[in-house]
């Protein structure tokens, strides 16, 4: 054999070894919208940060992919005591933390110590990591975890007992949220010993379907498949987040094949994406609501007829068409139709300006009447253009003899003043956190109707509030559903607000991307997703 042939054969053999691996490696590129604050959801508040942490982590319970249903996660099962105040979790055995990330080699499987560590960091001020990365645990506080939790203890390595101060039906949904992510105590101890605590939130180690590889701010995050994952495995070998903040650039990258999935295309680009055979639009109605609140403590909005009249005076369909541009659906209830306990029997007020005038006259209102109409100075996920909506409402109101003066403030100031109840009428909205109806209905509860509270209608209805409290304190889903259905009827009749719209969330993907299920909670998941 000549030297040349030997070399050629050697090369061919080498290629044969390398090539199948090289060809088989599947990389999925997600064009995301921004850089994460860091990789620990508990200290963050943005969806961008949660999306970046999600491939790496699990929670005790998870939201089923594509729904807001709570399913077992790192806890295999759980039982709730009769008084609904004690939850006992049986933990999954044999779950491995990622090995090799930041030179961490776990010596044991996931166990109860990790669970307790993860909650106590957010809960106990004397925890070794309490002050790391700013130490602000917004979601833990916002979901009232500090007020609800009494103790979290372990009875053995795979049993955790959570005692609550009061029954809280939404607790399981809370535990599936990103802030309730379970971290490795062993990894935290290793960094603590090395004096590198700040790395804990920068270089994440979890139990999730992908393990972290690298992050370059504003450019890229890389993950690789975790072959030892306990649950539904990743179908691609590498996952890359290409950080692309401009929506037009994301769309262009998708078209050029530089990414396979792009978050939030511009509504104007949707028709073109739908037409393109190489692309697909993935849609889901958003778990949110945009509403126009009437301050019932200020005349004439103390009169039900006035509130009902204004509900009839506004041409909602035109607002949906012209402002939401197809990315929204008219709302008749406070909760979106995808949420359990949605009452489809509720009838919305018809658009009937003659009837509206009649009702106003019946209520003894003298027209022309002057009111204020507040609109947010910012775009929100549930409301693309509050100012435009306010202008359209203003025009509609003029036709029934109501002169609306448009008012706005800087965003922080706006919320503060509206919560104080300084407005007559104001637009606002809500994005659901955890897929539990309570997470929407508390917005109309009596406890939020005090000055500074979140119920900016300042409406406090006894029957509504009793049902709200009752539904919160039982785990019986049928009973809760009944209560919420009745509450939707009360709310529609009393009309403390005009429910405007639920937005429709659109993402775009390459046509060869399969298995993606869009989450109603707005999160992005890439396990179970493949490229054909």
């Amino acid at each position: 054999m000549s030297k040349f042939t030997r070399t050629a054969l050697g090369l061919a053999a080498a290629l044969a070894v390398v090539a199948p691996g090289a060809l088989a490696a599947k990389t999925l590129v997600y064009c995301s919208e921004g850089s994460p604050e860091n990789f620990t959801p508990a200290v963050n508040t943005t969806g961008t940060s949660f999306d970046a942490a999600r491939p790496v982590y699990d929670q005790l319970v998870l939201f089923e992919r594509g729904s807001s249903k709570v399913i077992p996660g790192l806890a295999e099962s759980w039982t709730v005591s009769d008084d609904s105040k004690t939850i006992t979790f049986k933990l999954r055995k044999g779950v491995k933390f990622h090995s090799g990330v930041n030179n961490f080699k776990p010596t044991r499987d996931f166990n109860a110590d990790d669970v307790i560590w993860s909650f106590e960091r957010q809960w106990k001020a004397d925890h070794a990591y309490a002050k790391v990365s700013g130490g602000k645990y917004d979601y833990f506080a916002d979901m009232d975890m500090d007020k609800l939790l009494d103790t979290i203890t372990k009875t053995d390595d795979y049993t955790v007992v959570m005692k609550l101060k009061e029954p809280a039906a939404p607790m399981m949904a809370n535990l599936a949220m990103d802030f309730a992510t379970i971290h490795s105590k062993e990894y935290a101890d290793m960094l603590d010993k090395a004096g590198k605590k700040e790395q804990f939130d920068q270089i994440p180690v979890g139990t999730g379907p992908f393990s972290f590889v690298t992050y370059q701010k504003d450019a890229v995050i890389r993950y690789k498949k975790n072959p030892a994952y306990w649950g539904e495995k990743a179908l691609v070998d590498d996952l890359v987040y290409a950080i692309t903040s401009d929506p037009t650039a994301r769309f262009s990258k998708l078209k050029a094949g530089e990414c396979h999935y792009a978050i939030a295309p511009r509504p104007a680009d949707l028709p073109e994406i739908r037409k393109d055979a190489k692309l697909q639009v993935i849609s889901q109605s958003g778990l949110n609501i945009a509403y126009w609140a009437f301050n019932v403590q200020k005349p004439p909005f103390d009169k039900k007829e006035v509130r009902q009249a204004l509900n009839m005076a506004i041409d909602k369909a035109t607002i949906i068409r012209d402002v939401y541009l197809g990315a929204g659906q008219a709302a008749k209830n406070l909760i979106p139709p995808t949420l359990w306990s949605y009452n489809d029997k509720v009838k919305d007020y018809p658009f009937d300006q003659a009837k509206a005038k009649e009702l106003l006259a019946k209520a003894g209102v003298k027209t022309p009447m002057d009111i204020d109409l507040w609109y947010m100075p910012v775009q929100r996920p549930y409301n693309p253009n509050a100012k435009r909506i306010a202008e359209m409402m203003q025009a509609d109101l003029a036709k029934v003899g109501v002169n609306a003066k448009l008012v706005t403030f800087e965003w922080g100031e706006y919320r503060k003043r509206a919560q104080q109840g300084e407005h007559q009428t104001a637009q606002l909205g809500w994005t659901g956190d955890n897929g539990d109806p309570d997470n929407f209905f508390f917005l109309r509860g009596c406890s939020g109707a005090r000055a500074g509270g979140q119920n900016i209608t300042k409406w406090c209805n006894k029957e509504f509030d009793e049902l709200l409290v009752k539904a919160r304190s039982t785990a019986d889903v049928a009973a809760r559903t009944k209560a919420y259905e009745r509450m939707q009827e009360i709310q529609k009749d009393e009309a403390p607000d005009l429910t405007i719209a639920h937005s429709i969330v659109n993402d775009a993907a390459a046509a060869n991307l399969v298995g993606y299920k869009m989450a109603p909670l707005g999160s992005h998941h890439f396990k179970g997703v493949d490229l054909k």
Partner: protein, 337 residues
């Protein structure tokens, strides 16, 4: 020469302090503070709000906050980002190489094309080339960067597939950790075949977009300055001596005509930074421009202030450098000083 340099250096100090004061006040005049921006529809309890403000030092009187800030800067401490808790200096210098790489490429593009084009236009004054070039330069100068960038992406990257859309390297084909932060250099160091070429490909569109305005300015400036010089007596003398036209134009005319052009290049560093903000956003270029825009949105005071200070310092120093270069090109200035 040294005295000239020291004088100029001394003059930058008050400029720097004035800038620091103005940015500090301006940022605080923008409505909304970092804590409130973080809070969504849920709102925040007054106790928690007060606690966070105190932790960030926002409950102190503004003059005290300013003195603390100046004290920090004098000790080389620009504070920590409120969003990521990273040191502002660390974040800035992680992202800055990308901005330098892009700005440098844009400037090279602008000078390499702009100076010869302007010189030729001057020599062939009134010709079709001259008229076309001047027309184009007005268009280039008044081009909105955002629109120009998107147009090029659609045409060159999407339709003609000549370049990638955005980013700095093909993320599917290449993976290496940054060493210097300059993608071209890192690509060479990575030893991955094709990485350098790919990085260069990614640089083309943003370079053209960011380089367009300076290109127009430089071409126009070179032309008018050249025209002036060409009518000088010494150029006529050089011609009369029988020197070749290339020598007359290249050595005698162009060298003198370049003096105002160099000033313009120095001054464009400032506008280049402003352009980088937009260019980086369109092309997902991970530089300091994009970072600053996000810091404004999140009212990340330390990042915003630190970023503005560091960029201003660099612009000031570059202009100082230009002044020195001036002296090198034009001995009359240093002798006059």
């Amino acid at each position: 020469m040294l005295i000239h340099f020291l004088k100029r250096l001394a003059l930058t100090i008050p400029t720097f302090f004035a800038l620091m004061f103005i940015t500090f006040i301006a940022i605080r005049l923008v409505p909304g503070d970092p804590v409130e921006v973080r809070v969504g529809e849920r709102g925040i309890s007054p106790e928690r709000l007060a606690q966070f403000r105190a932790e960030l030092g926002l409950d102190q009187p503004v003059w005290k906050q300013f003195l603390d800030y100046v004290w920090g800067i004098l000790h080389g401490d620009f504070g920590k980002s409120l969003v990521t808790n990273e040191k502002v200096m660390t974040e800035f210098f992680t992202l800055f190489p990308a901005t330098i790489e892009l700005s440098f490429a844009a400037m090279m593009f602008a000078t390499i094309i702009g100076i010869p084009a302007g010189a030729i236009a001057a020599v062939k004054r009134g010709s079709r080339f001259d008229q076309t070039l001047m027309g184009l330069s007005v268009a280039g100068f008044s081009m909105p960067i955002f629109w120009w960038g998107l147009l090029l992406i659609m045409l060159v990257a999407e339709r003609l597939h000549l370049t990638p859309v955005s980013g700095r390297i093909d993320l599917i084909k290449f993976y290496f950790e940054p060493v210097t932060g300059f993608m071209l250099i890192d690509a060479l160091l990575s030893d991955q075949k094709g990485a350098f070429k790919d990085a260069l490909h990614h640089l083309i569109l943003p370079m053209i977009v960011l380089g367009t305005v300076p290109l127009a300015v430089i071409a126009r400036m070179t032309r008018s300055s050249m025209l002036e010089v060409l009518s000088e007596d010494y150029v006529r003398t050089a011609r009369a001596k029988g020197l070749s036209p290339a020598r007359v134009i290249g050595l005698h005319a162009l060298r003198n005509a370049l003096i105002p052009v160099v000033t313009v290049i120095g001054l464009s560093v400032g506008s280049l930074m402003a352009g980088a903000v937009l260019t980086e956003t369109i092309f997902s270029w991970p530089g300091v421009g994009k970072w600053l825009i996000e810091a404004i949105g999140r009212r990340d005071y330390p990042a915003l202030q630190g970023g503005v200070m560091l960029i201003s310092a660099i612009v000031i120093l570059v202009n100082l450098g230009v002044d020195v270069l001036y002296g090198v090109i034009n001995p009359r200035i240093r002798h006059g000083a």
